[in-house]
Each structure stands twice: as structure tokens, then as C-alpha cells.
Symmetry: C2
Subunit: 201 residues, 2 copies
DNA sequence: GATCAAACGTGAAAAAAATCTCATTAGGGG
DNA sequence: CCCCTAATGAGATTTTTTTCACGTTTGATC
């Protein structure tokens, strides 16, 4: 994951197209052995003295993580955050395509948000069924998230990307990925409060 | 961090105000011992047979993580994501207050985004100096992020919350918290591609 | 072509994290 | 008032992760 980001960024500009585990390790601030271990875990073998072929590695990671497959998703809640996600063009790199956006607010239905027409919640279930959608992005207000999650699961959604600051409960076979920012906030708050101490000591 | 979220959610509605490590562990799906270990690490001692006092724990976590202190921040880049962050009211719970928003686009300067007047980039440095800002939220396009980070560091910003999909490099004493969604995306893509196997096996 | 150095793969060792066990303490019931 | 259960705290144990060390492979150099 971190490898993929780093390699697809750096690999584009460099012609040699090979990289050593040591270089990767230095850039990502980890142990070279770790890199080799991880790579061999997904069936990647480097060659002595040369290292790894960047394109090869990227492809293997794409396959291992499923970025090579097309994943269609719906987005629910076209507020600020929903709009930001719709406008983000980087998802395609990972095989993710947001094919429809929905919102509770009937006044928004029919309007365009980031080039995507907002659909009514009434058409949510039929749409998911018809297109076999398995992933939903939740960017709704807190109150609605749990009920919505239940509805989504009942029509066959297999994964929910939860951007609301709520814990939602689902059957075990469904994946919920919480994208809370509170964790990052913790790290920052901790640093800011304790940062004064470290330089002086 | 997870504790704080859980306790401040559940604690509000329950009068008893005490909770056992086992209850917390069950809710967060971890080991009860882990909870006790973590709590004792920040100087929290439960009492036999009763458990832990919810308010007490919350307060200790707030202090330990620095949520009890006021952190003022500036936000740079008032696009969709910037607007979403400005509109999010949950930051105050963690002591974070976004006191100003800036944008490159001169046409946006002066307009209101989520109740906050957008300021010109020219006033960024003086503003940070004047108010002693130590944290900046970056929600700009990719191209600008590194140059902006350098500028921020040069005027004394001690932490950068990076919402752009770019790695930025800063002096070691400055904290950069990357809020990339690619990691979450990895988890989801992996689940969606491999999910078919697990139920059948 | 033979040698040398750089980088890999792998198995062992060390470190860290999670888990288990148990003695201790504190409330509740008889 | 004493015992019993429920929950803690801390030490021991196990598991996982990270790191180290060494033998092997491969391209470059003489």
C-alpha cells in the first residue's frame, strides 16, 4: 500500500525502472529486510545486484490488492465531503469508480455535484440490485448512518466505506472501513502538547 | 483514542458512570487486559469489583492526548474538502479550532465558506506569526503542497495535517500527519476481491 | 573467464505486542 | 461479620513482528 504509492509516484519519472530494497526502505524509513519479506509474500522475487523492477512490483501489488479489478461504488450523502470525494480523480488508479450519488434531500435530487447527477434515495435499492454494486461510500449526517447501513447490507452491499463519525454495526461478512479523522487528530494534539519538551531536553 | 470515542459516546446516556474493562473490551473487540494495560499506562487505576469511572477515564485521556488544551489552526485550500472540514463541528471536542481559512484563488478571497471568511495567501504569514499558530491543515491541490509546507515551517508551524495525496518532506521536529485515503481503499479493494472465497470455504 | 561487490532470500535471534494466569482487593449477600 | 463473587494489577507466557546474520546469485571489472 505504501509501497504502491511510493513506487507509482517515483517510478514514473525514472527511466532505469529498477529499484533496490534498500532504496525503498530508505525512502519509506523502514528496514530493507522488511521490504524483501513483504515482496516475497506476494510472490515477488528480486534479482541479485539489480533489485526489483518497478513496473513488475506495481503490477503485482495491484493484483494482490485488487486494484486491477474494476470496483463500482455508490456514494450516499452529497454534502461537502461527498462532493470532495466525487471530485477526487485519484480513485481510478485503484480501480474504484463511483457510478452514482444519492442524497436524502429531495431538493438536491437532480442537481449535478462534481459532474454526477444526484439521485433520489428511493432509487437506491433498485440501482444497487441492477448494477450489482458491492461497495458504498457513506458521507451522510451521523443520524442516518446506521439505518442506511442496514438497508445497504440488505440489498447485497459487501463493503461500506464509512466517513461519518459513527460506529456502525453490520454482519461479519460485511466490511466496514471507518475513515475517522479523530485518530489523526490524536496524533497531532499529542505532538503539539508535548512538542515543547523534546527539543529542549 | 478509540477509548475516548467509545466512552464519550456511550458514557453520556448511562447514569451509573462506571464501566468494566471487560465491557470496553467487548465493545471494541479487544482483550480486557489490553484495556487495563493501556489505562494504567496513563496512570489510571480501576477499583476492584466496580471497574473504571467513565468521566475519570475520559478526563485522563483528554489530558494525556492534549484534548484539554486549545489548539488553533489555519486551513489552506477551501475546495470541497476544505469546506467539509470547516463545516465539521466535531473538532472542538478535541480542542481543535480552525481560526482562519486561506486560498490561492483570488476570486474566492473574501467569500464565506462554512461561516469562515476566506483570506488571501498574502496574509498567511503575518496571520500565523501574529496568532502563534502551530498547526495547519492542508487541503490544496497536489502541486502546491510542498512549497506551501516549506512556507508554513518557515513561519513556525509545528504540525501539518496533510489531506493532499502527496508526501511532503519537512524538518524532523515538524510533524506531518498524512490523511491519505489510499490505505483505506487498499483494505476495501482487498476485501472486495477476496470476499468471494471466504464464505464458501 | 575469473574475481569482486552489491543485492537478494531465508532462517535464526531479538524485540515488541498481545494474551493468559493468578494473587489481591472490594462490594454484595447471607 | 464473614464469606463469596467479580473485577483489577502485575508477572509470566505465548505469539507476532521486527531485525540481524549469513549463504547465494548476478552483473560489472580486470
Amino acid at each position: 500500500m505504501r509501497y504502491y504509492r511510493f513506487l507509482s509516484e517515483s517510478g514514473a519519472k525514472k527511466p532505469p525502472q529498477t529499484i533496490t530494497s534498500a532504496q525503498i526502505a530508505a525512502a519509506l524509513d523502514i528496514d530493507p529486510t522488511q521490504v524483501r519479506k513483504d515482496f516475497s509474500a506476494i510472490g515477488l522475487l528480486g534479482i541479485g545486484r539489480v533489485g526489483f523492477e518497478v513496473c513488475e512490483v506495481c503490477r503485482a501489488i495491484r493484483v494482490a490488492l485488487g486494484f486491477d479489478q474494476r470496483h463500482e461504488a455508490v456514494l450516499i450523502g452529497t454534502g461537502h465531503l461527498g462532493a470532495a470525494l466525487l471530485a477526487y480523480s485519484g480513485f481510478a488508479r485503484y480501480g474504484l469508480h463511483i457510478v452514482a450519488a444519492f442524497d436524502m434531500d429531495q431538493r438536491l435530487v437532480g442537481s449535478k455535484v462534481a459532474g454526477c447527477t444526484v439521485k433520489s434515495m428511493r432509487s437506491l435499492k433498485p440501482f444497487i440490485r441492477k448494477h450489482g454494486i458491492r461497495l458504498a461510500l457513506l458521507t451522510t449526517p451521523v443520524e442516518a448512518s446506521q439505518k442506511l447501513a442496514d438497508r445497504l447490507v440488505s440489498v447485497g452491499v459487501k463493503a461500506i466505506w464509512n466517513f461519518t463519525p459513527t460506529r456502525i454495526t453490520v454482519p461479519p461478512e460485511v466490511l466496514v472501513r471507518d475513515e475517522h479523522i479523530s485518530l489523526g487528530l490524536s496524533v497531532i494534539a499529542y505532538h503539539l502538547t508535548h512538542e515543547v519538551d523534546s527539543p529542549s531536553s
